[in-house]
Symmetry: C2
Subunit: 282 residues, 2 copies
């Protein structure tokens, strides 16, 4: 639909100005989007670093007792979470580069557009100035007309009336000239403005499409990482299920056990003097 071609006319003919500035705001929104993604990347990086620190805490917790092996499960899972978020950071940074590249292309395209629409800018200035000039020439024509009538009524000299008639004729010519000029400028302005309004709408459509593509790329990345995080959670739950109470008890008994031999019976041993004597010799 030709939204721009329909909506940027109006009394003062400054629709061109609004649309031209809007094109520049397109570049601002690209910069804003890059900033937004960068800020998000910074948040994810901080989160990832904190998770790495948390994983280290998990390995620093007591390695004594039956529960100790569970900390390995926490450590592995927390490290993987940190890694998912770091992966997100890397992919966001790639995306930021893409946004900047687009921003640069945008500036070049805008410079070219500025040249392309320079004729329209001229047409706008023409219609704006001729509108004013036409108004003034009409007022002047009316004033001179009234002046001529007044002199006639008040019975002024022939010379005075003739002078007023010359002025009136000149004002009429100027007024008529401006009416013609206005018609020409108006037609030129309408033609050029129609074309340019559509051009600006095309630029906006292209810009919004590109922005939506970038945002979709952002969404996809976040969604993929979200799925990866979900897998890390599932893995943690499975690992915890496999870390049974019995296996922990068994592991502890095996690693910290003091021996399976119960104290043996001790009988009275009759002294065998010869062997004992030998036994106590140096």
């Amino acid at each position: 639909m030709a939204y721009f071609v329909e909506s940027f006319w109006g009394e003062r003919n400054n629709g061109f100005d609004v649309l031209y500035h809007n094109m520049k705001h397109g570049h601002l929104s690209t910069k804003d989007l890059a900033d937004f993604i960068r800020e998000r990347a910074t948040i994810e990086e901080t989160y990832s670093r904190s998770m790495t620190k948390l994983a280290k805490s998990a390995s620093n917790y007591t390695q004594l007792g039956t529960f100790a092996p569970v900390w390995d499960v926490f450590k592995t899972s927390t490290e993987k979470l940190a890694s998912c978020h770091l992966d997100l950071v890397r992919r966001l940074q790639e995306l930021i580069k893409e946004v900047h590249k687009y921003g640069d292309e945008q500036i070049k395209a805008y410079k070219k557009t500025k040249e392309d629409v320079s004729g329209t800018l001229e047409a706008v200035q023409n219609i704006q100035s001729i509108t004013q000039a036409l108004q003034k020439s009409k007022e002047n024509y009316n004033a001179k007309c009234v002046e001529q009538e007044r002199l006639k009524k008040e019975g002024a000299t022939q010379r005075e009336i003739e002078k007023a008639a010359v002025k009136s004729k000149k004002a009429t010519d100027t007024y008529k000239l401006y009416v013609e000029k206005y018609a020409a400028f108006k037609s030129d302005f309408e033609l050029k403005m129609t074309e340019t309004a559509q051009k600006f709408q095309d630029i906006e459509e292209m810009h919004l499409l590109r922005m939506k593509e970038i945002i979709q790329s952002l969404s996809n990345t976040i969604k993929e990482i979200h799925l990866q995080i979900g897998e890390v959670h599932e893995e943690f739950i499975n690992n915890m299920t496999n870390t049974t109470v019995e296996s922990l008890i068994q592991k502890f008994a095996e690693s910290k056990g003091t021996g399976k031999e119960r104290p043996g019976p001790i009988e009275f041993e009759e002294c065998n003097t010869s062997s004992v004597a030998e036994g106590i010799k140096p």
Copy 2:
């Protein structure tokens, strides 16, 4: 399976000591788990705060241009992400309270157990001291026996031989007494240690079950929040799909449009002196 009853015997009979300390380590692991969850909660809180800040950035970006309404979609979604993580923080804090409550119960239970197993500690000390005493009495008995034989062989006086015989008889009696005592202590130790080892295993099993319950509660909470975050992502994707290029173009044309009226034709207007004269009067 009776892992503890089988694995905590051995030459020096200090399995009791290992198991008793292990019980205390159980409380350490509870404290560690509370610390771990607290650290995680702190990380989530920081993340949530940063997301709230990011949402504010989104609403501070340029409100000019066709892209402006998209920032509302970002703002809403980012605020919801912040809220999900804050919800996680609250639930983790609840869980930490539960862990502390369990830790307090644990201390009480340990104090009771310490009393319950005091008899076993005594039995351990008994068998450890009788084993040493028995060894010494056996060495003394052998030494006295050899001394008596030596005197006989070297033709010592009857008096000397009789004196040695008395000493040997005394050493024999002590040795025999300790052999008997050892048998009684050994039997008592074996009985009490078997019972206590099983008691310590029961305590560990209960502890590990409780810890696994807490961890499951943690996993469930994290999983639920993860699902909520996934819904926020889906909603964002849907909102972006609904924010079409056409709707953005239309919205801009409606809010920033300068008018739908093209410049009208302007004709030459003949001067009507009476009306004009009135028109220019003050």
